[in-house]
């Protein structure tokens, strides 16, 4: 019984083509892989190769025919040896397919928020710098789990470019505290591979600016592989280091990357402000079975905060925190901007304006519930971030408020952001480029109508 040869699709988008020329005639013997006809598509002229062996029994579509639809029988092939003949290539079986073309609803953006206190009452507190808190978090997790290791530039013998890894080499040795060459793309890929194979790497970037060389592995290899593997291949890894502007290091060393990473499914993105949050969230990030982008801030490293004295202080990723309650407007901020928002709130309070300040802490998944609940009380939202305005975290918050709190808003959402320019070097220009306390105060006063 002859097998039909079908008009093939030769590119992802081809639906029809022209049968330009037959290269074989009726009666010719054909071997697999031999070109039998030439077809033209909008992109190119290509040869149709025989898939099966046999004799060309009949040509069904003459050469020169235009607009031949994919899967139209164009010729018949007769098997030479019926016993060994391949199974007939029938027309495509109707795929047991598509139940529906409509996408199911996305998971809920608004999730219930737990209200239990994060730090139990009566716990002893002690002052720690953010730097020490981060170091303690890594040390505790490395003691707890032998699969956790730290790699990056100058994390070992140098004791950390910003001294965050101070003492770790002495305690854990060079097999677990690994100085890398200055090759971000390579060592990030290496870390991701190690995570795929079951280890739990902490990859330190000297700054996130340098991670742009490695962003391919962060997104394409770490963030997407779980999905592309149908859930088989997790990537338990933490990418961490200082993000944003420090002081006078200009455009290539001062970029703020929150919205870049928060954009990407498959990642979690954390940007803490206080030392307690830095510790509790870094411990959570190291234990998390997913890739976590952990955005620190160089200026914060030396700042001290109260940290609970607990054997194992772990905070949940994905929860914002109201760091100052207030009734007149809501100010959201994260990382170093939380401090500026709190200073602004002090000044506003002196003028009789009570601002509620929310530390977002996690940017993906964003705790929309906490922000919406606050805005439903204050009816006004001011978003503060150090990064650029276009497609930033504030832009996202503005859209979310339209979707989830539109009827409660008494005024449009306002953004205070870094200026839409590369970071200047000159001290006066740099100060202007980054949101200052007075910018937040001015925006807040305008928002409540008391400019």
């Amino acid at each position: 019984m002859p097998t039909p040869i079908l008009m093939p699709a030769l590119s992802p988008t081809m639906t029809e083509g022209n049968l330009a020329r037959w290269l074989k005639k009726v009666g010719d013997r054909i071997k697999p892989g031999e070109p039998i006809a030439e077809i033209e598509t909008d992109k190119a002229t290509m040869e149709v190769e025989a898939v099966e062996e046999g004799v060309l029994a009949e040509i069904l579509v003459a050469e020169g025919t235009e607009g031949v639809k994919v899967n139209t029988p164009i010729a018949l092939l007769r098997g030479e040896d019926e016993a060994a003949a391949p199974a007939p290539a029938t027309a495509p079986r109707p795929a047991a397919p598509t139940p529906s073309t409509a996408a199911p609803a996305a998971p809920q953006v608004l999730r219930p928020v737990a209200h239990e206190p994060e730090i139990p009452a009566g716990v002893q507190m002690r002052k720690l710098t953010v730097r020490e808190a981060l170091r303690d978090a890594m040390a505790e997790e490395m003691r707890r789990d032998p699969d956790v290791f730290l790699m990056g530039e100058e994390v070992g013998q140098y004791q950390g470019a910003y001294k965050v890894s101070q003492g770790l080499l002495d305690e854990f040795g060079p097999e677990r505290v690994i100085d890398t060459p200055i090759t971000e793309y390579g060592f990030t890929g290496l870390g991701v591979g190690a995570a795929m194979a079951g280890l739990k790497p902490i990859v330190e970037f000297m700054t996130w600016n340098f991670a742009m060389q490695a962003i391919d592995h962060i997104i394409n290899s770490a963030a997407k592989t779980l999905y592309m593997s149908g859930g088989q291949m997790g990537c338990p890894i933490v990418f961490r280091g200082p993000n944003g502007a420090a002081a006078r290091v200009a455009a290539q060393h001062s970029q703020e990357y929150s919205s870049w990473y928060a954009h990407c499914p498959g990642l979690k993105v954390v940007a803490p402000w206080s030392a307690a949050d830095a510790k509790g969230l870094l411990k959570a990030a190291i234990r998390d079975p997913n890739p976590v982008v952990f955005l620190e801030n160089e200026v914060l490293y030396g700042q001290s905060f109260e940290v609970p004295v607990l054997d194992d202080f772990v905070l949940p990723i994905g929860r914002a925190k109201i760091v100052r309650p207030g009734r007149d407007l809501t100010i959201t901020a994260f990382s170093i901007m939380v401090g500026r928002a709190l200073q602004a709130a002090e000044q506003l309070a002196a003028a009789g304006i009570e601002a509620e300040v929310i530390d977002l802490r996690t940017l993906r998944p964003l705790d929309v519930e906490t922000v919406v609940a606050s805005v439903k009380r204050t009816n006004r939202l001011l978003s503060v971030e150090e990064g650029w305005p276009v497609c930033g975290i504030g832009a996202e918050l503005a859209a979310l408020m339209m979707e989830h709190a539109f009827d409660w808003l008494d005024a449009p959402v306002v953004r205070v952001t870094g200026k839409d320019v590369p970071m200047p070097y000159a001290a006066n220009l740099e100060r202007m480029a980054v949101p200052q306390v007075e910018d937040v105060v001015a925006a807040a006063r305008a928002l409540v109508g008391r400019a």
């Binding site: 030769l10 590119s11 060994a84 079986r93 139940p99 280890l199 149908g230 859930g231």
Partner: protein, 345 residues
């Protein structure tokens, strides 16, 4: 065009003239296994090409036809504790790793029974149970990743190595050399297998590489390398056994360059204007790895024509069954759109 064709013809001459001592002949049982595994890849890929033509496989689909001896020969030198990672031309490696042809075909057709539940496709397939780590679509990305898998073998002291495959095109990627440096510096147990099929998509090796002896690409890092006729499965197997022994003994990485050839286009939509038909025909007729092994087995009386016919039928049945299984499987449930983005902890 004419100059391109001339250049590629010259490349072919160079490539075919790799001087090899005759490799040792393994047992009849192993010869049959090597033959069956190569034939399975060949027939499977032909079937995949057919299903692509029928519109059942979408997107990009890079066939391994012609290169079968490389993955099969290397796999015969590895053990169960070893890992494998490769790029986007990955169907052959998966079959050589012993993955189920039905589930590979189901993934190619985007069905829920595929290795990635239909969410990865041709270029992104994984099987953790056999330590196959993909299937990566970004050229060269698998090289640091495979080096990291080797790092994990060393860290866990489990005695395994990672076979990291990449092509002549990927061999120009900067990240490859960043990985080479760390692998050599830290003596990581990684075997780099460069499958030099002479073309990075449509650009011939001598048009994309300043030096085309790719096995020497590790020398700046003191990584030894050797070249092998990748159209000869016994030669590949033998060189791989030596290379694997070197890597497993803790000496650090090794580069094995296999000179090979793909008969089909880079992907399905390749007009093939960058090489001559004669060149492809010459490789098919004179250097085909499956024909070569078959002739050797016939000469040595390992199997007769009747036995080969029987094997061919068995392999065709497996591939037809894979195609049937794939086509009869449902597409993923719409709810799968939202799953596997994050591990829920």
């Amino acid at each position: 065009m004419a100059s391109t064709a001339r250049a590629t013809k010259e490349a072919r001459k160079v490539a075919v003239e790799v001087v090899e001592p005759t490799p040792a002949i393994p047992s009849a049982e192993e010869l049959l296994k090597l033959y069956r595994e190569m034939l399975l890849i060949r027939r499977f890929e032909e079937k995949a090409g057919q299903l692509y033509g029928m519109g059942l496989i979408g997107g990009f689909c890079h066939l391994y036809i012609g290169q079968e001896a490389v993955a099969v020969g290397i796999q015969h030198a590895l053990t169960e504790k070893d890992s494998v990672i490769t790029g986007y031309r990955d169907h052959g490696h998966m079959l050589a790793c012993g993955m189920d042809p039905r589930r590979v075909m189901a993934e190619l057709t985007g069905r829920v029974t595929g290795y990635s539940k239909g969410k990865g496709g041709s270029m992104h397939m994984f099987a953790k149970e056999v330590r196959f780590y993909g299937g990566h679509g970004i050229v060269g990305a698998q090289v640091p990743l495979g080096t990291g898998i080797a790092f994990a073998h060393k860290y866990k002291k489990d005695g395994g190595i990672c076979a990291t495959y990449f092509g002549d095109g990927a061999a120009n990627q900067g990240q490859v050399y960043e990985a080479f440096n760390m692998a050599a510096l830290w003596k990581l147990p990684v075997l780099y297998v460069i499958e030099n099929n002479r073309y990075a998509m449509g650009t011939a090796a001598e048009r994309h590489a300043s030096t085309t002896s790719l096995f020497q690409r590790g020398l700046a890092f003191a990584i030894p390398g050797t070249q092998v006729d990748g159209m000869d499965v016994l030669a590949v197997r033998e060189k791989a056994l030596e290379a694997v022994r070197y890597v497993r003994e803790g000496n650090g990485p090794f580069v094995l360059e296999a000179l090979t050839y793909r008969y089909r286009g880079h992907s399905m939509s390749d007009p093939g204007k960058y090489r001559t038909k004669e060149e492809v025909q010459e490789m098919r007729e004179r250097h085909d790895p499956i024909d070569r092994l078959k002739n050797l087995m016939l000469e040595r009386g390992v199997a007769d024509e009747e036995r080969f016919k029987q094997i061919d039928k068995e392999i065709r049945d497996i591939c037809n069954e894979a195609a049937r299984f794939a086509q009869d499987s449902p597409e993923p449930d719409p709810s799968e759109l939202w799953t596997d983005v994050l591990v829920e902890s």
